[in-house]
Structure formats: C-alpha cells, structure tokens
Assembly symmetry: none
Homo-oligomer: 205 residues x 4
DNA sequence: TATGAATGAGGATTCATTCAT
DNA sequence: TATGAATGAATCCTCATTCAT
C-alpha cells in the first residue's frame, strides 16, 4: 500500500477499464452476430477503442472469446465440484438428479451464450480444447463419485469408473446442447428423469 | 435388359465418368487436406477437368462432400436397420453389444473419412443436417427396439423409449468420435463392455 | 406447292416451331428477370430445348433479345410513318399532339418490355444501336415534316429541320422513358400538352 | 489558424495522401479502361497501395467512381445556379443561350470523363441515381426561371413550369451526350442556336 | 436440326493482424 | 498503454459459348 503501488494501480485501473470495455463489447457483439460473423472491427467500434488496442489485451478473436467464456465455464466448474456422498441407492439417485438438474439448468440459463459456444467449438480448435477441459473436469469428478459408490458397495464393480463417467457425461452433454439450441421438444424434467433412471439403475445395485 | 435403357447415350456414360472422376478426386482431396482446406480448385486439378465442370455436377463444395459422404452414411443406415428381437435380458445384452460393436467398428474402419466428417459437421450446416438425419435414424430404430422390449416385459416401463434411445445413442456417438479421432486410450472392447453394461442393466429388468 | 416443297415446309415448320418456342420463352424470361439477370440457361429450360439449340437460331443473348424486341420496334416504326400534312398552325398542333400521343401510348402499352429495353440499352452496345436506329428513323421523319411545314410557310425558316427534329424527339423520348419507368407523377395529358405547346409555338408562326 | 486543427495528426495527412493517390490512380484508370473494364486491381496497382487499402477508403468501385465524379458534378451544379433575370424576351433568349453554352461547353471540356460517366450510368444504379440528382437540380432551377418569366408576363402562362423545364433540359442533355460521344456532326453553335430558338419562341411571347 | 457436356476466364472483397508512432 | 493506417492472401462461382455427335 505504498504510494508507488497506488500510482501503478491508477494506471492499471485505466488499463483494466479498457480491458473491461473490450470484454463487454465483445460479449455483446458475439451475442448479436454469433462467433463467426462477429469481427474485431465490430468489437472495437462498440468499445470505442483503437484497432490495435484489442491486440494489446488479447492475442486474437479466439482468446478474447475464451476469456468472455471463462466466467461461464467457472460456473460449470462449480457445478462439477458438488459433493457426492450417498448412503444408499436412493440417495445416489437423488443426488445424481440434483447434479443433472444443476448442469442442464445452468446451460439453459445461459442458453444464448452456450449457443455461441457451441458454434465456436466447431470453428476454433482452441475453444474446442477449452470445452474439452471442462468436459474432462466433469468426467474426473464423476469418476470419483462412481469410485466412492463402488467402494461403498453401492455401485457395481465390474465397470471402469472413468469409462462409465465418460458415457454418462456424454449423454448429459448432448442433451444439454439440444436444450440450448431448442432442438428438442422434451421438457427438462422428462430428460432428467429418463437419463438418471437408466444410469442409476444401470450403475447402482 | 433391352436396348434403350442399357445403351443410354454414350454421352451420358461420358458424363457419368466425369462425375466419377470428380467424386474420386474429391475424396482424395478431402482426405489429404481436410474439409476446410480442400478447395474446388484442388479437386478439379486432380480430376483434370475444367473449372466449371465441377459446378455442372455439384452445387458447391458442401454438396460434393455430401455425395462422397453418402456411401459411408448408407453403411451406417444398414447398421441401424439390424433386427433386434431378444427373448431375454441376456439375449438383449448380447444383441446390443453386437450393435455397438458394428457401429463403432464401422466408424473405425472409416476413421479417416469420419474424421473429416466431424470437421465438416462443425463447418457446414448442410452437412451437420445430414449427420443429424443419420442420428435420428438410429434413434428411431433404437426406440423401436426399446418398445419391443417393453412390450415383452424385458425393459422397464417407467421410461420414455425415445428419450432413452437418444441418451443411449449420444453416448455411443461421442465415444465413436473419440475413437475416430484417436483421442481416447480405451480399447474398443472396454468401451463396449462398459457402455452396454450400464445401459442394459439400467433398462432391462 | 409441289410435294418436295411441302416436305421441306414440314421440316421448316418444326424448325420454326422451335424458334418460336425459344422466342416465347425468351420474352417471358426477360420479363421475369430483366435483361441482365436472364440467362440462356433459363430460356432454354423454359423452352424445353437443348443448350445448343438456342445458338442454332440466335447468335447470342443480345440477338435473341433484339429479335424479341423487333415486333415492338416495328410498332414504333409505324407510328413514325404517320402522315403529316397540316394546312395551318392549328392543324399542325393537332397532328403533332396526335403523334406524341401515339408514341407515348405505345410505350406505355408496352411498359414492361420497354423497361427491359431501357435496361438492355445501357448494357448491350448492339441493342443500344438498335434503339438509335429507331430514334434516327423518327428524327428523319420529323425532319421531313418540319421541312414540309417550312415549305408551306407554316414553320419558321431560320432553323435547321434536322436539328430541331432531334431536340424535339429527345424531349419526347426522355419523357417516354420516365413514363415507362413510372418515375414521373405527370399524366400523359399534361405531358403532351406542355411538350407540344412549346414546340409548336416555337416552330410554327 | 490555431495548432490543434491545422497540425491534425501527421498520420491523418498520410491517410489523406493515400486517399488522393487512390483517387488519382482511379481517374487515370477509368479514363484508360472505361468504367466497366477498370478493376480495383488496376487502380491499386497504379496507386502502389495494398489491395485492402482501396477498401479502407471506398466501399467499392462504384463509390470510388462517384467520388471522382463529384468534382465534375460540382462544376455542373455551379452552372445550374446561374442567375436568370431577363427584362425582355430578347434578354431571356440571350441568357438562355448563355446557359446552354455553359452547360454544353463544360461537358465538352470534360468530354472524356463524361463519356465514362455515360457508360457508368447504364451500368451502376448508384451512379445513375447521382446523375438523376444533377438533372433534377437543373430542372428545378430552370423551373424557377420559367416561373420568374411567367410572373413578369414574359412567358406564356398556359404551361406548367416544371414540365416545360423537364422537356427543355432533356433536349439539352441528349445533345450533350451526343457531343460528348462525338456522335453528332453539328457544331456547338448550331445546336445552341436551334435549341434555344424553338424553346425561347415557344415559351416567350 | 438438335443436343448437352465441357469449358475457364475473371474480379470482388473480407478481416485478422502488424507495427511505427 | 493506445492507436489506426495499411496490408494482401485466398477462393468462390457464373454463364455464355463451343463443338463433337
């Protein structure tokens, strides 16, 4: 908290503000045009900064998008981190339902942005990679849950936790994309009920 | 086997040949460059035809690709049409395993091409649509199977066949893409065993 | 009327029919798409003939259009040929009004086609030339009329008949294009009245 | 003459210079190739700038052309604005002659460019529009003149000023195009004499 | 006379990114 | 830190026309 740090902070604050402006303008722009059609030009115009300025803060469009995506992804990470300690098959079912519900609800809450994310995944390897990381995070967490259940003799032992977790997450993820893109007529409840019923009964004994 | 239909116009035969040349050159080009980087220019050079010629037969790159894709997709359609009439839970498990095995094996056999298909799906709405059609075909077929099993009191009745079929196919599809892109270290057998175990035990009583 | 001529006629009739089909399809196509956007491809498809067939009868799109235009142009030629033999200034005014009226009415009657003609003039030197011929025809005829009036001491002598005819026709032509393209709010009557009033009073004494 | 406005950004000066280079090269190119055959590629090569640079300053070829045309059009506008306040029929005739003379002389002075303008009018709706605006400007001004003369009892009252102005300008414009394209053998003087004689005697009493 | 397969020249335009200031 | 002028690669697709049959 010396003076030098304060002065620095003053400068940094300006920089931070510029960065925020760009981020904000970026989100609006992506939401308006989609990932592909949004241009850096659009963004800097909306942020009222110079061309080069965007490149001071972000390597390119992909990186700018990924940083915008980050907050959202963090919310997903939090969902992934939910505790899972069922004492019985019934409790497991309950907790699993809860998790699926949270996961899908979050995606639906951020439908518009997730829709752009979906588009961006198909277009940018970097962003695809970022999503794969989220996916792996979820899968690891689910694997842990499965192993916990196996150790407690709740889940069948003749399956590989990792693989089962993968398959399970894949189903969830795909339904998520469909919900996000409004390409399904099923209700959230129906999806959750059916998904978890098969999974929980298949895995738990 | 009468003249008119067989002889059909030496001219048309020439045309057919040209079309085949283009298709062949197209496949090679896509395999070599990937979907995005392959250009019509590459293709006609390889086919040794004039520029406009490609446009006589195909509206654009997407359409050309889709026609090349078609043969492959037909193989998938055949897999989707496999009969499914289990008399018991054990038989069901067996038949399901068989189907998954066929589905994934086909994809692996055509790994290279499927990898390009994956790329193209993210890039061309038309091709995405074509793949979605395949998907729905599979899902419909699986729904039928589930309903059959439900009617024969093999499968649990408190689930929606369509929805379960969707979730089940999604898992399979996602693993398929991973296998195709070599992005998994699991063996085909492991994948099949774990996927079907959960699914069959979850669905069948 | 010998047999050979009849047989020949039979063949020629077929040819004539094909030609007519093309001409008819051409007119429809030009009317539908305009000159520029109409393609030979559109036309032969509508005429249900082969590609090359159009080129058997017409050198190119311009020529095909000009032949379609011909009937219309002939109607203009007829208007241009109208007799003009006034005995007095009043009669001259009357006859001039009549001519303008016929000229503009014809153009309005064929508004749609004339609109395409206008477009084509700007796009094809050949068609521009064809229209220029019509124009010269009118101007020559008007020159004759003026000279007739000059000889009869009806019209002032200190002007060049050719040049006056030109100027007079130009006014008429320009109003004609405006009427054809609906780019004027004046009524036909107003136009005629004002045009002829100035002209007749300027020329006739 | 203060600093801020004058100094304006060495950078902007450079930009302005580039823009001028492009404009200059554009004019040369259009003059050399005509409107249709001139390409942006030709222009940037002559201006020694990068491809995209042209698009920084001008939306497309049409816009570039219109800006080049602008100077010329401004000269026309000035001619259109000439005062007209005759006290007698003779003075009116004199002043009208003067105006026609200025109008046609200007066009002849810029013969080459006007020839390209004529071509461009038939090819680009935007440019056609730009010319139509000039035309309306002239017509409005002439209308005013006619009304002035009518109020002073110099011109006949039984005609519509707007309409007469239109017809009169049309004649002038058409002769102008002919002079510009060398498609007439009449001398400027002959044209002026004949045009104005009819018009002035027709309109003025 | 009729066909239709094959041709290929040709130019506009975008936009992410750089770099000198 | 901020700017913004300049860049230029890279590909699409049309369509009138020909010519061998």
């Amino acid at each position: 908290m010396t003076s030098s740090t304060d002065t620095l902070t003053a400068r940094q604050q300006q920089a931070l503000k510029t960065r925020q402006k760009l981020l904000h303008a970026g989100k609006e722009t992506f939401l308006e045009y989609g990932f592909q059609k949004a241009t850096i030009s659009h963004i800097i115009k909306k942020a009222k900064t110079g061309y080069g300025t965007a490149y001071v803060y972000f390597k390119n469009k992909d990186e700018l998008f990924m940083i915008i995506m980050e907050d959202l992804m963090n919310e997903f990470y939090q969902v992934a981190e939910m505790p899972f300690t069922p004492a019985s098959k019934e409790e497991a079912l309950e907790q699993i339902k809860k998790q699926v519900q949270l996961f899908l609800s979050l995606a639906i809450k951020e439908k518009e942005m997730m829709s752009i994310v979906k588009e961006a995944i198909g277009l940018s390897p970097e962003i695809e990679k970022a999503w794969y990381d989220i996916r792996e995070k979820f899968i690891s967490r689910i694997s842990l849950d499965i192993r916990y259940a196996q150790q407690n003799k709740l889940a069948r032992l003749n399956v590989d936790a990792q693989l089962v977790a993968r398959g399970w997450f894949f189903s969830n993820e795909m339904f998520m994309w469909e919900l996000v893109q409004n390409s399904t007529h099923y209700s959230l409840e129906e999806v959750i009920h059916n998904l978890t019923t098969i999974y929980a009964n298949g895995l738990y004994e």
